[in-house]
Amino acid sequence: MATLAQPSVARPRAASARRQRLINGLLVNGSLALLCVLWLIPTIGLLVSSFRPRDDILASGWWTVLPHRTYVTVDQIDLGRGTPLDQPIQLPQLGATVTDEQLRAGYVLPDGRKLVWDNRRQRLIGVQERQLVVGSNFTLANYREVLGSAGMGQAFITTLVVAIPSTVIPILIAAFAAHSFAWMRYPGRRLLFAMVVALLVVPLQVALIPILRAYTALNINGTYLAMWLAHTGFGLPLATYLLYNYISQLPRDIMESAYIDGASNFTIFTRLILPLSVPALASFAIFQFLWVWNDYLVALIFLGGNPYARVLTMRLADLAGSRGQDWHLLTAGAFISMIVPLIVFFSLQRYFVRGLLAGSVKG
């Protein structure tokens, strides 16, 4: 009995399991796709808008560039100037009677066409039909304006000059320090490393005021140097911590054999440790570069007084503050400020992720 019954039970169970798996797969992929679309919409909206002419941006949403059904004027009826508007208007050619009020709101005929004033003073009525429309009015003028007169082009170079040394200098200094923490024994080592770890989470707001004072006293406020030093100081705890984690995991015997061969600490560091640490160096470099490129607060405070050195984020915030309704400039400007980070992100994503994974406690 039991042996006979088993197949008849097992077969529907297998089928239902397969159906269950299919439903699960659809649910998983469907909700994931939905989330991805939600996540992408803001950026796509920005990108599309940045290529639309100023008047178009203000007249319709960016999504109207997608194919959509809307009323398009296909015909015009001239009532003749002086037609009185205080009484119903006869339209024999359409077999309809409409009032001024209905035309102002838009009057839909039984066949789906819509009547609306094209020009009320000249008594022109537009006849509109629903049609599938694709907006294709794109321009580069926004970018030209934002790069030229709005100063984004110059800010782009300024940002590069701020960002590159602010990335390389802390890496170099942190790599030396990390090497000493990992492979050298000296008094004060524990204390210094505890300082690095403690500083990982310190909010940089507590440091800004005294640094600004010191910069003013040294007369370097508003210079590139001021920015590099500040970003170096603020980036160092994380850089040292990440690089220490990596360098201290390197195999000890490589260094020992080099040391026995007479290589000095400096040689070991430059010839062995640095080349071996490239993955860690790269992942921190991306992290720090993006951080500096996207920074606003530090730039606002240390470069705020210098009208010639303004980074992209400052320019963009200025635009948003003073010309908040100029969407054609804001969208193009925002996209310019995003280009480099996005290129870095998509080309070096793997390293970036590795850097994040190792240092998920950045302050």
Binding site: L35, P42, S60, I164, Y186, L316, V353
Partner: protein
């Protein structure tokens, strides 16, 4: 090849160990020359009269090359001192610049800020803890604390929950890589840029006019009245600002969780399935406890970010309409109102808020070997 390098480095050994006046002088000269070049470059950069591109190129060479040169010459100087002194001093050549910079840019300024917070607006009269008393009673500051609390609770929990959800979904999907890239992408965008992107989404036009903001377009298409998202309905307009950071930081949580999920051993999951546990039971009773450490890490990281949030609020509302947060108050008090002692006190309050995380980090460090 290997043989020659070995012989070469062996023959160098005695020279590297023995002190030599000639080498010492050369190295000293090199260090002085480096410092001189750096000083000249600094003066050139400060004058700032050359065309921007020239300044940029000189600045790059000076900034990047200068540091490398400093390390090299300082090390040459130490290595010329003989093996005993070299052993003693060399670690400090390595760690020195980092220690000096950390002290100069974080430790000492933090102490100075604390000292200043005990003084009045012009930093000349000692007022004790009066600034702190004012910080906690001021109306705008209370608003800022309330808003920061909103940021902390809603921003952090949303990033953790959404990040975990997406990580789990992506783990079971065939489109894992592309989905993760899309969710993670906003991490690369600046807060200022993201602020503008969302300002556009929340854009408001009076009823009857075409809505160019996506959110109001949806509302009006459904028959509602357009809403001025960022200015009306305080304090809930803060949620629209928090949404920006959720958009940006969910990707961070997702990446870290995704890595942690892959670390959950398959045999435990398999055993639970054989025992008849449902996927939901497995998730809550096995996976969540297993990755608890990661959840705490992500939550503290996002929490610290939300405590310091500045750029998004500054760009989108400027702190008006009841959206003030602690960091914008700090900026306004210090840089706009020139209220120095008060501004410093706000910064210290921010610092006190992250102290627990700092102690947690230090305790973790003590558990590690070697330290």
């Amino acid at each position: 090849m290997q043989r020659t390098t070995e012989v070469e480095s062996r023959s160098r050994t005695p020279a590297a160990g023995a002190p030599s006046l000639g080498r010492f002088l050369t190295a000293l000269l090199g260090l002085i020359a480096t410092l001189a070049v750096l000083w000249l470059g600094f003066v050139f950069l400060r004058s700032g009269s050359a065309p921007q591109l020239v300044v940029a190129l000189v600045a790059l060479a000076w900034g990047v090359g200068g540091v490398a040169l400093l390390f090299t010459t300082a090390n040459m100087l130490v290595e010329s001192l003989g093996i005993t002194w070299q052993r003693r001093i060399q670690p400090y050549v390595f760690v020195g610049p980092a220690a000096l910079l950390l002290a100069a840019f974080l430790t000492i300024p933090a102490l100075l800020t604390f000292y200043q917070s005990l003084f009045g607006a012009r930093s000349n009269e000692f007022v004790g803890l009066a600034n702190y008393a004012a910080v906690f009673t001021d109306r705008l500051m209370r608003q800022a604390f309330r808003n920061n609390l909103l940021w902390l609770l809603i921003g952090t929990s949303a990033c953790v929950v959404l990040g975990l959800l997406i990580a789990v979904l992506a783990d079971r999907s065939k489109f894992e890589t592309i989905a993760k890239s899309i969710i993670f992408m906003p991490m690369a965008i600046s807060f200022v840029g993201a602020g503008i992107i969302f300002k556009f989404i929340y854009a408001y036009a009076p009823p009857g006019e075409p809505q160019i903001g996506l959110l109001n377009a949806i509302v009006t298409a459904l028959g509602g009245e357009p809403v001025a998202w960022l200015t009306s309905n305080q304090p809930w307009n803060n949620l629209w600002l928090i949404l920006v950071v959720i958009w940006m930081y969910t990707g961070f949580g997702m990446v870290v969780f995704s890595a942690a999920l892959k670390g959950v051993p398959d045999d435990i999951l398999e055993a639970a399935r054989v025992d008849g546990a449902t996927e939901i039971q497995i998730f809550f009773q096995i996976i969540i406890p297993y990755i608890m450490g990661t959840i705490i890490t992500v939550a503290t990281t996002v929490a610290i970010f939300t405590l310091k949030i500045f750029d998004v609020v500054m760009v989108m509302t400027g702190g008006q309409y009841g959206t003030e947060v602690v960091a914008t108050q700090f900026y306004r008090q210090f840089f706009s109102s020139r209220n120095f002692g008060y501004g410093a006190a706000i910064a210290i309050v921010l610092f006190i808020a992250v102290l627990p995380v700092m102690f947690y980090n230090l305790r973790q460090l003590r558990k590690q070997e070697g330290f």
